[in-house]
């Protein structure tokens, strides 16, 4: 319990400290406007060429744009946690955290969530305004706000552990850039970051259904544009299982890495 309170406090302090630079954060999210503008043009042309305004793979044009607002929010709200962890391992700063009464991964998770929640709120606001102006609103129930907030935290947590796993490889390798590009971009592509996985060829849809990536991007984003309580329940228990599995692997990797840690000087 005390561990949970400490983690909550770290997240709260992170959120408060980032709040001081709110306008800087708002400015840095304006790029989302450019991204969405390009997406709106791409999908408008695509839908027009496909015969008009009907649904493609279960998404109307409007839902498609709001889906992309959701995927961009998930991805752009995340700080590059793999870099922070890699830097701490390379610089030896990881040793400073060893004697602190708070777990290494727990501390980073709290910072990740604290900043992520604030960034996500700004991104939803900026992306929402752009999408509203360009394609109009979608159906949205106020009752889905709380469940979606929980889904966001679970989604961010799964993405955190995924990034942390890549960062922890720095215990064994000189440079994690290659691993990052392979795993992170695979997550983007097969997780449905740039387009819903229902647009993939049938054979690929059969493959990705067995991968963790859709639980980290596609399913939460799809839930945000067409919320149903039964879908939320199903997604939640699957995400909980995924988070538990990733946490377990990350813990093992961390403990094994710390055992081979050599830190010189101070």
């Amino acid at each position: 319990m005390t561990e949970a309170i400490k983690l909550f406090e770290v997240a709260r302090i992170t959120l408060r400290s980032r709040w001081r630079y709110l306008w800087d954060m708002v400015g840095s999210t304006l790029f989302l406007g450019v991204v969405l503008f390009v997406f709106v043009r791409l999908w408008t042309v695509t839908y027009a060429a496909s015969g008009g305004t009907g649904a493609i793979a279960g998404f109307t044009l409007r839902q498609m744009i709001w889906y992309l607002v959701a995927t961009e929010t998930i991805i752009m709200s995340m700080i590059p946690i793999h870099r922070s962890i890699e830097r701490e391992i390379k610089d030896g700063d990881v040793a400073i955290r060893l004697n602190k009464p708070l777990s290494f991964l727990g501390y980073h998770w709290s910072v990740f969530i604290g900043e992520g929640v604030l960034k996500a709120l700004i991104l939803v606001l900026v992306g929402g305004v752009v999408a509203f102006l360009m394609v109009g609103p979608i159906e949205f129930s106020v009752l889905s706000v709380l469940p979606l907030l929980l889904t966001f935290v679970l989604t961010a947590t799964a993405n955190f552990f995924f990034g942390a796993l890549i960062g922890l490889l720095a215990f064994w390798t000189e440079d994690i850039t290659g691993f990052y590009f392979i795993f992170d971009r695979l997550k983007w592509l097969l997780g449905g970051f740039l387009m819903p996985i229902t647009l993939f060829p049938e054979w690929l849809q059969q493959v990705v259904v067995w991968l963790p990536f859709p639980l980290m991007i596609y399913r939460p984003a799809e839930l945000a544009v067409s919320f149903e309580f039964s879908k939320w329940l199903e997604l939640t228990w699957k995400q909980l299982l995924l988070v538990a599995a990733l946490w377990l692997v990350a813990q093992m990797l961390y403990r094994s890495g710390v055992r081979r840690l050599d830190v010189n000087g101070g």
Binding site: D24, T46, G178, L189, M195
Partner: protein, 257 residues
């Protein structure tokens, strides 16, 4: 020219000293590019034609923009840091050197990850797109001229720091906008957006005209691209020099190895 080649050679050798890191970054970026291209392959699997463009056209587009980006920011990587160098008063070092200031800044660093882009473009074409020797020539020429436009734009964006003070956020914001626009077929845009893409955010000269040159050569396109490359680089040099005249030393007390 001899100076440029010698500086590039030294920078490349220096970066290659950290061999594992160098190779990891190069291959990492090539994988990154491959996965972006995979997105488009999946897209064209579902929608075979996009405003007259097919999958092969998109592959040519990605080959050209990665090649251009690789030349511009793999070999002349410091263009990406221009705003930061100006704001922090770090131009002092270059002012004391005997060659052209802007040239020396641009030649200050190579970036291995972007060299991955440089290699990716030709490899993509060689494997997936049927090419003739003439098309290879046009690819190299169009890609190089596109790189000049990329560089000129980033020099202008970075030079804003001479006039606005700390403007790294703005410089990277408009730089990212150019990169983002240039990774999509510009034919999906119309009206004023197209005007914008051939003036203020010149993605059309990077992503559209070079691709048209390779698809079906027209002398008019080539002439337009050459004029744009000369025009934008002339403008960039003028803006940089005008800004440099306003530059005040940072009195930075540090040694640069």
């Amino acid at each position: 020219m001899r100076y440029i080649l010698a500086a590039l050679r030294t920078n490349l050798l220096s970066a290659f000293e950290y061999r594992t890191s160098f190779l990891t970054q190069v291959f990492g970026m090539m994988i990154n590019d491959s996965l972006w291209v995979s997105f488009w392959v999946l897209y064209f699997e579902r929608f075979p034609v996009l405003n007259g463009w097919t999958r092969d056209d998109l592959l040519v587009l990605w080959a050209i923009i990665t090649f251009s980006f690789g030349i511009a920011f793999g070999l002349f990587a410091q263009a990406l840091r221009l705003s930061e160098l100006i704001t922090q008063g770090q131009l002092d070092y270059y002012l004391a050197l005997p060659k052209n200031v802007l040239l020396q800044i641009l030649l200050g660093q190579v970036r291995p990850s972007n060299l991955g882009d440089l290699f990716f473009g030709p490899i993509l074409l060689a494997i997936f797109v049927p090419m003739t020797w003439a098309k290879w020539g046009l690819f190299l020429l169009g890609g190089t001229l596109g790189a000049v436009v990329y560089l000129a734009f980033f020099v202008m964006a970075g030079s804003l720091a001479f006039f606005l003070g700390s403007s790294e956020g703005i410089a990277s914001g408009i730089g990212n906008a150019l990169i983002h626009f240039s990774t999509y077929p510009t034919r999906i845009f119309d009206g004023w957006t197209r005007v914008l893409l051939f003036t203020l955010i010149p993605a059309g000269f990077i992503a559209e005209i070079p691709v048209d040159l390779v698809r079906s050569f027209e002398f008019r396109d080539l002439a337009l691209l050459i004029v744009a490359a000369i025009g934008f680089s002339g403008l960039a040099v003028a803006v940089f020099n005008r800004g440099l005249a306003r530059y005040e030393s940072g009195n930075l007390m540090s040694l640069r190895s």
